[in-house]
Symmetry: C2
Subunit: 499 residues, 2 copies
């Protein structure tokens, strides 16, 4: 594929000059339009060393308002960054609405340079094929969110690559930029090219296609890149007009019958005596404490997420789960309404930012399921958005588990009667009053709508590697023991599968 | 000092039980009060290895609402963290209003463990004495912001330390927690104790005193720590009532005469012909490009901040400054109104978060001077707050320069007539209209009040290591060349001082 590119293509100076002036003005206007329409833009520049990526970034941004873009040079991951799924560090750098992010190298280096230099093992999990899949999901999620993505591969022949590297090395101003990895690209040109071809084929999707750029003539390359970038932005802005659907209706107007009612099948009479509770709890806590040593030893990240009805006892269960743990080894993060910084990013962004690192236990009090629960019921997410979210969530969770995360998902279930009982109790207890808000009463009125949303969410996001545990929580003793036992069992199973 | 502590102090079980119950309920109520009053709380736990810090954190948080606190275990800094001033990583972890942060080890390890294990060199800059000063400023800034700080030193005799380490090492559940550094503490007990004493003396300030805790009896230690923590919180909450001053008046009501009018002394007729401009600009840009190699080579962080009247040409100057630079080596960060996450933190927090790392150039379009300019004039900061800010800013900048930062501060000065001319031009230019907002017109009406604020700010924050450069900017050519030449000269001076 790459060897059929006509690398002789070039432009005379006069044509170049007039083209580039026109394009730069056009891009400047497009930047303003993106800003006005809150369209996030991702530009990916990949290609051979010395193929002119830096010059291109400089060219593009020289005409732009510096308040609207960020340049992200991507180096090999730091020790810190290696402790997360490989896409983690790119999620941190995603553009907010209206902003443009230029990735000078990108997530693609992971399946290219890392592969060439054998920093990836062949039998590793996730495999290179899985990584391509994760990249495709990632880009599709961004495009669905409304992001415009333009990806460029700047191509050089082996001869040109070598000659440029030699020129660079001679010049004091550029010599420092030539890394030993760049020389290796030249040495293993054909192997690298075959990896690149595979990558281009596997990730040139309908939503985010690659543009191959004949980069031996700098003028040709610049005009081609700018032309494609301008057309990507124009298309994305046009799409926006079509996508602007009417404000979505709250779920109250769309009550549907679910396939099967999982919640109704829960035996809410399950309970434990105080004596059994204390015995079993203590036993499970000690087990967990011991498992923590292995989590630490084998660098395993654990993430437990807690969903449930208001007053179902999430807080109490979390407290018992963590009571005996070393406070340096876990953290609890409660998620409430998103901040304004979070509001201008993809809804998964804030969860990516808070992931536990290897060897620690992260506990999320509420989670990304808000997208298909409260956001659906209250109409904050459109029907298209929350329906799409099931797949996005499954993809996200698969990325976590394939990166070695132990993922435990709880729904704490109580009956509406038990909830009312607890609300009343809270109201009358000065010490607990702060826990009860007007929102809790409103949510309670929407019980039936939540019931549908929860059943559907659990059904659509139950996967072999990330199953749900529905906990009968009318009896707090039973629920707390069930939670901690489930965490223990899941970690034990993961440890066993390592051996 | 430490050897006079009576380590025999202890409590019988019954007294302990009743005391601890009472204290935990009190703390729980205090946490609610802090949450309600938006009071941020910092708890620092330092002391010998195995002195019970972990048990204490567990004890305290077991009674608390997990949505209101974070535990920050502090390990030796990562390679990433070492690229910033040493307080950088603690700024990232400061509690938002209403939250409590428990530091399990803290900034004090830097002047204690790092010192014992010779990770700090004796002739380094900043010196240990300077570090104590930086810590004291840091804590005073937090207290002035309204933060309650409680600091505990848990003390053990050498004999007890050794015996505990041996016990820990024997038990499977605790063995992993004993680091080789802990054994070294026991080995070099007296040296470590003398460092600790020096630290305790130097940093036990009126606003944030240390509490020394006799930690050989766990019961005694827990009751003492909780009692002091409760009293610190109670005092802070009481203080809050006193501090709640009436809403501050905008500066319009408080026009004062400054000592000398620096801005009036600027020769605004300075200008350059187009030919001179292009020659000098190109020459300076090439120089900067070369200096960039040294910045990279010697790992020097550079921070250039741009302040100036609306339409003074900050954007244009930044563009010319960066045009020839490698886009991987610098970033521009524009600061506008704070986000809601930023609003619940100290005003310097958002600038700490964006500092350039070693070897890169950070360019801030507006900066922390907003505190003494727009926040003063508009009345967003009280008079106490903005007056206090001069000192805080000087301290902050001194921390940067003593950590090796090259700091360049610009005020771009234009006349009111020139501003009006540029506003009108913007209004009539479809391409530039977005740059002009209603706020610009309002700021213009406040010209005289800003004039006073700017003069005062420049006078009070001009220091030998962080001087201001006031740039005559009626002529854009002159201003742009002046800016880039100043950056070049400042970096050159810093490089020279290295040799």
């Amino acid at each position: 594929m790459l060897d059929t590119l006509n690398l002789k293509l070039s432009l005379d100076k006069a044509t170049y000059k007039s083209e580039i002036d026109r394009l730069m003005h056009q891009l400047r206007e497009l930047q303003n339009a993106c800003w006005g329409k809150k369209l996030p833009v991702i530009v990916v520049l990949e290609g051979w060393a010395a193929s002119g990526k830096g010059g291109l970034v400089k060219q593009i941004i020289s005409y732009m308002d510096p308040r609207g873009f960020q340049v992200h040079p991507i180096w090999p991951p730091t020790a810190e960054e290696r402790k997360y799924p490989f896409l983690w560090r790119f999620w941190q750098k995603l553009p907010a609405q209206g902003h443009m992010s230029f990735f000078y190298h990108s997530w693609y280096t992971h399946v290219l340079e890392e592969r060439l230099f054998k920093r990836l093992e062949t039998d590793q999990v996730p495999t290179v094929q899985q990584l391509f899949g994760q990249i495709n999901s990632f880009e599709r999620q961004m495009v669905d969110y409304g992001t415009a993505i333009a990806k460029f591969w700047l191509h050089l022949s082996r001869k040109e690559l070598k000659s440029r590297l030699k020129d660079y090395a001679k010049d004091e101003l550029t010599a420092w930029r030539v890394r030993k990895e760049d020389w290796k690209q030249a040495k293993h040109y054909h192997r690298y090219a075959s990896f690149a071809e595979e990558m281009l084929v596997q990730t040139s999707t309908g939503v985010a296609p690659w543009t191959l750029v004949e980069a031996e003539s700098e003028r040709w390359a610049q005009v081609k890149v700018l032309t494609h970038l301008a057309s990507t932005l124009t298309t994305a802005l046009d799409q926006l007009k079509i996508k602007l659907s009417p404000p979505s209706l709250p779920a109250q107007t769309q009550l549907e019958i679910t396939e099967s009612n999982l919640l109704a099948q829960v035996d809410l009479s399950l309970s434990l005596s105080e004596k059994d509770y204390e015995e079993q709890l203590a036993k499970a806590q000690v087990k967990l404490r011991k498992l923590q040593l292995n989590i630490h030893k084998y660098d395993i990240p654990v993430l437990a997420i807690f969903e449930g009805w208001d007053a179902a006892g999430k807080g109490g269960a979390i407290k018992r789960l963590t009571r005996i743990l070393d406070p340096r080894s876990y953290f609890v993060h409660p998620f409430t309404a998103p901040t304004d910084e979070e509001k201008v990013h993809h809804y998964l962004w804030r969860f990516w930012r808070r992931l536990p690192t290897k060897g620690t236990i992260g506990i999320f009090d509420r989670s990304w399921y808000g997208r298909v629960l409260v956001e659906r019921v209250e109409g904050f997410a459109s029907e298209t958005e929350w329906r799409r979210a099931y797949r996005e969530i499954n993809e996200f969770e698969a990325q976590l588990t394939s990166a070695g995360y132990v993922l435990v998902k709880f729904w704490l279930h109580i009956s509406p009667e038990e909830q009312l009982h607890r609300f009343t109790e809270r109201q009358n207890n000065l010490f607990k009053q702060y826990k009860l808000t007007d929102e809790d009463w409103r949510n309670r009125q929407n019980w039936n709508y939540y019931d549908v949303a929860i059943n559907q969410a659990i059904q659509r996001t139950t996967t072999p590697s990330a199953p749900w545990t529905i906990v009968a929580a009318n009896d707090k003793y039973y629920a707390r023991v069930k939670v901690i036992k489930t965490v223990v069992e899941t970690i034990e199973a993961q440890l066993k599968s390592r051996n």
